[in-house]
Amino acid sequence: MNDWQQESLGPSERVPSPPSRRFTSPPLTRMFAGIAFIGAGIGTWFAAGRLLGVDWTQPKWGAANISVYIGSMLAALIASLFGGMIGMAVPVRSGGVNFAIAVIWQYTANGTAIWIMLVVMVTHKVFGSAGMQQFAHRGDAARLGLMTMAVGACGSLLIATLLLLTRVLRNAKKPRVVAAIVIALPVAFLMSRAETALLPPVARFGLFLALTFPIPLVFVCAHFIDRDLHQRRQIVPET
């Protein structure tokens, strides 16, 4: 305690500084990392292939081909690290915005993957194993692959947007699964039409693609969105 002969030059007790607040959004981090991974991977693959003069219609396990594969994978991994770090640094204060990012990213990412798997299965059924190998060596196989990815990504993004706008998916509420599947169905039909335009032989299974796609999409995304929200609560408990 001070008396009249003493002079305080600072606070007698250390005042603890308020804890630093972080508003990191796990889905935004994943979104940045995922986009960087895909963008850098595909970009490097095409650029390096062209630079080294790789002919994808006549693939051989030469040094150039292996360098393109390894180089694009390394570039994708490094880019995803940087992308993730940038995403982590962006503060997302609103729980609602964090939820919307989780829905949009998980639907787009998982929807693209599910769509590609379904299309590959259907294409395999149409062409058979030998036909698939010939198909993979076609000059436009890479372009068709990218277009299939684009159909999956755009369709899934549209579904996510519709589910948010119709409030079928709401923050802190369980999804209405049947309503979500019903809303996703028309978009899945559009995706199936677009895929048929790209790959006409797939038309035989167009209905299968449209009817199947929404079911795993809704169930898989529900779990991944839940994980995103759980991690967010660990960082920002009140959201």
Partner: protein, 150 residues
């Protein structure tokens, strides 16, 4: 005090999830006409689905009873397991938020030589609440929250 029994609706809701590995395996086999390795994996998926369905049947044939004396569980094969409240050495309720359906809950009551385990989320919500309220009245129920499944 009644016996609390799982609902048929809960059994029907569990079936599609349990069968989903077999459905995936069937789709893969039909579309991809796979080689031996993938056929073996598909067969394992089908076996996993069968294991899940058998688990569902066993869970939904069980029943649980609580009264002022203790807790008693009837197993799917008619076996009885009972613990009096004074014998209870531990009572735990494991919870896991399910993003689609009700919260998964597993009640575990221990004595020195016996254990009663029951999935309470297969009961009607009102029955589940009544059962857990009764357990809480007689034993200090510790809730353990599990992290999400994914």
């Amino acid at each position: 005090m009644p016996w609390y029994r799982p609902t048929f609706a809960s059994f029907l809701a569990a079936l599609p999830i349990s069968l989903s590995p077999a459905v995936v395996a069937a789709i893969i086999v039909w579309f991809l006409d796979p080689g031996t390795a993938l056929k073996v994996v598909s067969a394992l998926f089908a076996l996993f689905a069968l294991h899940n369905v058998i688990g569902d049947v066993f869970v939904h044939l069980g029943a649980i009873h609580v009264d002022e004396r203790g807790i008693m569980m009837k197993g799917s094969l008619g076996d009885l397991r009972a613990i009096e409240w004074r014998e209870v050495t531990g009572a735990v309720l494991r919870e896991r938020e399910n993003p689609i359906t009700r919260t998964d809950r597993l009640l575990i009551i221990d004595s020195d030589d016996k254990r009663v385990m029951f999935n309470t989320n297969v009961l009607k919500p009102a029955d589940e609440a009544a059962l857990l309220a009764m357990v809480r009245r007689h034993a200090p129920l510790v809730v353990e929250r599990d992290t999400p499944a994914v």
